[in-house]
Point group: C2
Amino acid sequence: MSELELHAKALKELGHPARLAVYKRLSKAGHAGLPVGTLQKELAIPGSTLSHHISALVSAGLVKQHREGRILHCVAQYDQFDRLLAFLCDECCKDEQG
Amino acid sequence: MSELELHAKALKELGHPARLAVYKRLSKAGHAGLPVGTLQKELAIPGSTLSHHISALVSAGLVKQHREGRILHCVAQYDQFDRLLAFLCDECCKDEQG
DNA sequence: TTTTCATTTCGATAATTAACTAACTGTGGA
DNA sequence: TCCACAGTTAGTTAATTATCGAAATGAAAA
């Protein structure tokens, strides 16, 4: 997968209201992340639907998960997100201001 | 459509390799933009497929078109793109550095 | 005014995505 | 061990998206 394809993949996964809301929420939660269940309550999305959306974000490298007991935490991957932003700024912005 | 939904829509339309390549190319072309035909040659995409992709970008407000004779120019809408970037920076980045 | 050119729309099909209920898995507590 | 809990996977269906050739449109050039 080319760099452009990888970034397109990330954009695509962010390009759904529910997933964007999930990422937005996680981005505010810091490195500790949030349990799936908390996201489910806050965003009011059926469990299985949310689970699919989270895997989509994981598949793009934007979120990672780690288990603590029976709680599965979701953590925003800021470095991956920053790479995406850098690509958008560097490759998709005007060369010169005006 | 909420602000989040609008941004999700823009991200979704950018979230395809062909469309991301189109926008990237247009972003370098400045305010004059580029004819559909030039994009078609450079990116080697069949005309009808490209046409659909461009309309998708137009539907998200990321590209506008204007005709000059029989040439249809496509122009990146930097302001719209900047709003998207601002949203991503403001709403989807860490609150504090670390 | 016929032809050529640039691009879109039509039409058809394949593939992917989205969504939800129900069933299942793994984990810890009683 | 049995139960409740957290979350995923299975199974299904509807809807959307992607793709491309062919036909149509609209505009200029010959």
